[in-house]
Amino acid sequence: MKPVIDLKLCKACNICVYICPKKCYSKGADLSEIGYFAAVVSAAEKCYNHNRDGKMICELCVLSCPDQAISWHPETEEEKRK
């Protein structure tokens, strides 16, 4: 699975950037529709849950994100090859 940030919810606190042990997130540079420099998932392929058929090893980011902005989505075929 891969983490996806909902741009309508992220308030750019960057807790995900701090908390992720695999450095999957980085600070954002683009202003979102709701007025924040939303964080970005810059290295989803490094996540502990990458290519694990839905098995969750780590969920520090999802449990920590104060704005419920991160959710899990299946990888595309191309992403699976990463």
């Binding site: 919810l9 308030k11 606190c13 449990l63 920590s64 994100c65 104060p66 704005d67 419920q68």
Partner: protein, 269 residues
């Protein structure tokens, strides 16, 4: 149940400031509640006044938004009138420990069957950052411009001394441990108290050189000490709590008779 079946999606984005720890507690609570497969329509949520106490308004269930400090009193009444309902209280350090201090102590003493979750952000967040009964010694707030000269209450130790059946303290930097304790608290018969030391970047962090919420999380990580280890180190809990260290862990897990049993309202919601 999906996250946004449990919470009211139409109210998102919620009102809490960027990086506020309240949202993290909401994640862990949802996770615990959902993993236990508890029925939402048989659970009532009660909050007092404050940012922390607003959580019930976001949950897709019946909620009581009560007067400041009185959530436990309302919840006690609800338990006795409708013992088939599970009762969960969300409260803050000011709501629970300051104006509501006596309700808190007596709720523990009676050991009323409810789960009480206190988000301790060491400050009155909602009203602009006045010192609370848990503001650490020498830290800044709007009402302590020379630093807080008082020493903080230790809410978890008070709950232990007053008789609660389950007591734990974690921080928002300990999401997995917190989720486990919330599960234990929800299953406990009697008064179950979980204190979560949490960041209020706007009104606590900003005045204490930790405006960035991640600085507060790092502070929690570095100053947290497991309770079993602190005993060995012989530290003075009250003096050092938060100013020097945050004692975390399960404080007590016991099975005293709860209030409902004592007065003959038997059913455990």
């Amino acid at each position: 149940m999906e996250l946004f079946e449990f919470y009211r999606k139409d109210r998102w984005p919620h009102v809490f400031c960027p990086g506020c720890g309240i949202g993290t507690v909401m994640n862990c609570f949802y996770r615990a509640f959902n993993e236990l497969e508890l029925p939402l329509d048989k659970t009532a949520f009660i909050g007092g006044i404050g940012c922390s106490s607003r959580i019930p308004l976001y949950i897709n269930s019946d909620a009581l938004h009560t007067t400041h400090g009185r959530a436990i009193a309302f919840a006690t009444g609800l338990r006795l009138a409708k013992p088939e309902l599970k009762t969960v209280v969300f409260t803050g350090d000011g709501d629970l420990g300051a104006i509501g201090g006596n309700h808190f102590i007596n709720g523990c003493r009676r050991n009323v069957d409810m789960t009480v979750i206190c988000i301790n952000n060491n400050i009155y967040g909602m009203t602009g950052g006045q010192a609370s009964i848990t503001t650490p010694h020498d830290y800044q707030s709007t009402t302590t411009p020379y630093g807080n000269k008082e020493y903080p209450f230790d809410l978890a130790e008070i709950a232990v001394a007053a008789g609660a059946n389950y007591v734990a303290r974690w921080t928002t930097r300990h999401v997995h441990e917190l989720t486990r304790s919330l599960k234990a608290a929800l299953q406990k018969k009697g008064f179950a108290f979980v204190e979560v030391v949490s960041q209020c970047p706007t009104n606590f962090g900003r005045r204490n050189k930790m405006a960035d919420p991640t600085q507060m999380l790092e502070w929690f990580r570095q100053s947290s000490v497991r309770r079993d280890k602190t005993k060995a180190a012989e530290v003075d809990h009250v003096d050092l709590n938060l100013a020097g260290q945050i004692t975390i862990g399960e404080f007590v897990d016991r099975n005293r008779e709860c209030y409902e049993e004592l007065i003959g309202v038997g059913k455990h919601g």
